[in-house]
Symmetry: D2
Subunit: 387 residues, 4 copies
């Protein structure tokens, strides 16, 4: 049973049966079984101006307030039935306090304690939870430096899926995924595979350098992605809409509010994931993706799609260039004491440099030389040395 | 942690933490563990005019031919990577030869043999498969009389998700679910729960009669549904599109081809599942649903939504009536020898009779009397005795 | 230069260079030139419960209040720059007080006085207007019995086209057209041609009976349509959305508000006009169409499309049947004293009777016999005698 | 009756009752009345590789071939009933041979001859037309140097509006407008006003320099636009789709065909016109816009919207920057002998220089300083000196 490659005109991503990423410096695999993670469920963001952030997420983006007080706002999307998908917590430094996953059962928290304990990670468990609406919870500073949170027990709230009287043109219906910046992508991939994640797509070059990988628990393209760069940092958290026009409506509304400068990149169609996307920056600069329509990946032999880093349709299927800030900027993450984690530099080559930097290049059709770029692409793809 | 009910204006479906359906006449639960079913994967339809059926599924609906010969056409949807989602096989009597599920591993076929063997079902296992593209396969005449097929080993083919050069306005991207007609819904629910399915939504009346139930493996509203009626018969197989306009485009194309009489019901918005839908009938009368945008159900405590059978928004959120044929007509299913299964009559009250029959009634707002129906709804909801 | 007919599979509407409708009993053509009408601009509805109507048009449908007091609410759509498109006036009997057209210049009001005066119509001119926001106005009880209003001078207000912060999922952007019920369609067509309107499409039978005609000033399919039936009555007023999903969103919202019984017919695709449509009934039973995407008709030789009354795709391209109330119910219209006009019966055969009545028939493919109707269409198209 | 300004948060375009553009160097106004132009109807493009161009317009964009031979391909959109909207003619130098408008009656050609004759323009009239499908035609080298064509007599062909069996996901339904590059915009505006066009929107700076103007005959935002720059050249010709997703589908298809480098700018939402847009470049570099959903402008007092050249939402409502090639590149136009017209340089300041050049600036909110630009906008809006 072999996979037939995708064969569009021109160069194509390579489809393989197995994850093609190998780490030369792996984190040890614990002997304890990992917890059974269901899905990316929530994120806790520290924001420096709670009112400004509440305005952005509630009044502009339309997330629903489940609960709030002077220091915290708990928000959820329209199809969610658990207490929240996003916690905004007022604090002195904009950062990410937790990437929170839901696990299948209470016993998975015991497994988490054992799994991370074996790795020597600092683990903190609170039966009463760290935030409102959630019970027994494990938080850990994971081997990659990220503040992961795992919980099962959670308060149920009204699923607003049928509440079309409350829908706006850009309604967010679901938290879809996280995206983490980490210096050594293969090392991070191997660790998340130990934790039960599977690779669905990735970006490599011909030398085998891995620039990014997408990893899933629920059967979509990802619950989290690993983006090569200085880390640990959070690249973004993504919410889903039903249709593409919902994403366009968010752009239109930002224009009407004279907040169009919150749009960092897009809207566009991803090559990786095949989803339609938009990247926004919140008042603290935290990056939010709005995302819709990737594909089912739940079969264990779901083909892995590997994209060439020089393929300029990998990150935007329409060949629109990635703005440099999208590569270089990301949110700090906190340790369990609430202190920003130090950031280690990426050592492998950077995706930005090999694609739009002075010596970088991108192609629309494999084999095209940079000189064949039409004039309207030259500024984007050839003037990287001016950055 | 209690569930907060949905609270639209007027009557609402009831949300509970557990499946509220109980069978007084259950099929015994095997002691063997069930196979780990991934998803509804394919259906084999016997069609009486292969050319006519091929025209409908390929030229009109745009499914992709993976392989074909004089007696069989193997079709797949655009985001599929396994060999097929639909097999059209020429035969003398229109019927369903197999509802086919993919299982997680080869060992799950051993589990299936044990599970169904314990139930005294006829089981047939073929290492070479029953159809092209698939290897080791178990077929069983299940306790409800349906020809279930389970397989893991399957040929991979090109996933056409990125092939926008081949898309049509109504492209079908995924097989979503089956829907089975069975006389005793609670008995069928209990059996499918033994097989590892979970209830996501159901329709009941105040006396506790269950008219239908939706059950899932993959985290959508269903992989199969159970509809109360004379059975075993297949109600329909459903394919997904990306967006609602894709479904409208199928209707528009059928009009242009002067095939609008293939439209049986819809398009519309379901109450149950919250999905957008359309029901078509193929040249043999097999029913096909086109479906898009239900919601994530993968958490083990996903709330179960129970709809009142008299709520006229349960099957169409816009209150448009269900055409009687939709309740009464369905496809025969074959036993493992290819002989149509005899059909047993439903003994519980029928959904059609209690809603649009002579003594039936439906409401828009709970408490409304039938006399309050506006004139444009009276024909649909009060003249059932003329059927 | 001859027209090439449309040639879908099956029967087709007939395309001709000229209006094929001839009246045997025409209203005389005035020697005075008609006023230069720009477009259908506004309607004044008398409603019996102003609060209920305001709730429907503002809170449910999202029209914008330009001005209001205890007896009147003035509403406009999002792309409008004149004071209003709809006036709701509290009154004892639900009726239509005015179908209001904007004319090109103030001098066109003089032309209107001369034109209608020559026809012996009662004409009333008020320099201060009949409603707020409008200046010099002519109202007339036209030869067909309808209260037509003509004005040029009008207050400009903010065009909200760019105000995406205010958009809802079902935003209405424009008043598109009226639809009038009149006993003798050819007679009415001839009169409106005298007034400067042109036929774009119509419905006839083989004997030449005309059942309906669509007539335009602005270059869309219509500013008003003439529907054969007991009249003068108003069939509906139509507002446009940008896209089809906006119309679906209105249905979804009505479901969420448990107001789905306001949906009388649709949503669907019209054959005539090729537009996407939905018919609602307001709290008084006034019919509102939501409409999008017809085609440009502004060339003087725009081909006229004539549909066969028995073609069941003429009113719904998908072959979904027309609910009887849609044929039989309509709003009374007032004379200039505010008294409801008496209604004269249609003498030609009725569209409902020849299509879904006891002796009626409709086909999907010309030449099909009614016996060939699939089961799911038989109830709709063959049981008309039960109405 | 005064206009109420649009009042979004932040800076707004200014709405006025009259065209605010005045020319200090107008072309004389003829005493002869202008021809009555209905609409922008067709364009004749000279292409250097007819097969390549045919592939782009027919196979990729889906325009319909009405007629073709070895040197010419005549194409139309799906809702068109006249012979063609686009003529591709093989020739040695890529250029525009004619911008073709339809006039109301044959007599309008006489008016055109007199009108342009009075202006001293070279006029050529051919009763048999210049291209297939069209009869009596006037071509003129207009005072701005553009090859305008006027015709009334034209062959009717099948309007494919209802042919959903032929639709693709990106179907083009209508030619919408032209856009001409000309050095002196006010002078060109005054001349087109003499020809009967009206301004709907424009871009100015505080000193009163006019950078662009949109002018209409049919009641949309434009039949042609005037863009300040070295001219006469053609900036683009635009075709309309029904909905926004149709435009996205064109991008997706270009990606699948590895032709994404045909995308020059967009997709996006215009500020001016409020339409959704995409700019493509054909194999010769001719620019094609795909466009949908502007607004009705047919009233004689339709408010004129004037945008500040420094408002970075004027050309893209989402604040995405305009690629420099879009400002600088355009197609040559031919004189009546088929010789490319010499290009005269713009003398007023250029829109590109005042917005993204070394001394240029753009704002999201009026009053913001360039230093307040977020990092992701700085490259676009502050590094213009590197161009």
């Amino acid at each position: 049973m072999s996979a037939t490659p995708i064969t569009p005109a021109g160069p194509e991503p390579v489809v393989t049966a197995d994850d093609p990423i190998r780490s030369g410096d792996p984190i040890p695999t614990p002997s304890s079984p990992p917890p059974d993670i269901l899905r990316a469920a929530s994120m806790e963001l520290v924001v420096t101006d709670l009112a400004a952030s509440r305005h952005f997420y509630v009044d502009v983006l339309g997330l629903v307030v489940t609960q709030e007080d002077d220091t915290c706002v708990y928000l959820r999307s329209f199809e969610e039935f658990i207490h929240h998908n996003l916690v905004l917590r007022a604090g002195p430094v904009a950062a990410v306090a937790a990437l929170s996953y839901r696990v299948r059962s209470p016993a998975d928290l015991d497994r988490a304690v054992a799994f991370y304990g074996e790795l020597g990670c600092r683990v903190e468990r609170r039966p009463e939870g760290f935030v409102a609406g959630v019970g027994d919870t494990v938080r850990v500073q994971d081997p990659l430096g990220f503040p992961y949170e795992l919980f099962h027990d959670v308060q149920h709230v009204e699923r607003l899926a049928w509440r079309y009287d409350l829908y706006t043109p850009g309604t967010l219906v679901r938290l879809d995924h996280f995206n983490q910046v980490t210096p050594d992508v293969p090392r991070a991939v191997a660790h998340l595979e130990d934790l039960g994640f599977r690779v669905t797509e990735d970006i490599q070059d011909e030398a085998g350098t891995t620039y990014a990988a997408w990893m899933r628990r629920k059967p979509t393209v990802h619950d989290t992605a690993l983006t090569g760069g200085d880390g640990p940092r959070l690249h973004h958290v993504a919410f889903a809409t039903h249709e593409k026009h919902n994403i366009l409506a968010i752009c239109d509304k930002l224009g009407a509010l004279r907040l169009s400068d919150r749009i960092e990149r897009g809207p566009g169609r991803h090559g990786v994931s095949n989803a339609f996307y938009l990247y926004l920056r919140d008042p603290d600069g935290h990056r939010i993706e709005i995302y819709t329509q990737d594909y089912y990946t739940g079969d264990p032999d779901n083909p892995v799609v590997t994209w060439d880093v020089h393929d300029n349709q990998r990150r935007d299927w329409w060949g629109n260039p990635v703005v440099p800030s999208w590569y270089t900027e990301a949110s700090l993450v906190l340790d369990l004491d609430g202190v920003p984690q130090p950031v280690r530099a990426r050592t492998d080559t950077s995706e930005m440099e090999v694609t739009i930097g002075a010596d970088g290049f991108s192609y629309t059709r494999k084999g095209d030389s940079p000189e064949e770029l039409p004039s309207w692409k030259q500024r984007e793809y050839k003037l990287g040395h001016q950055l």
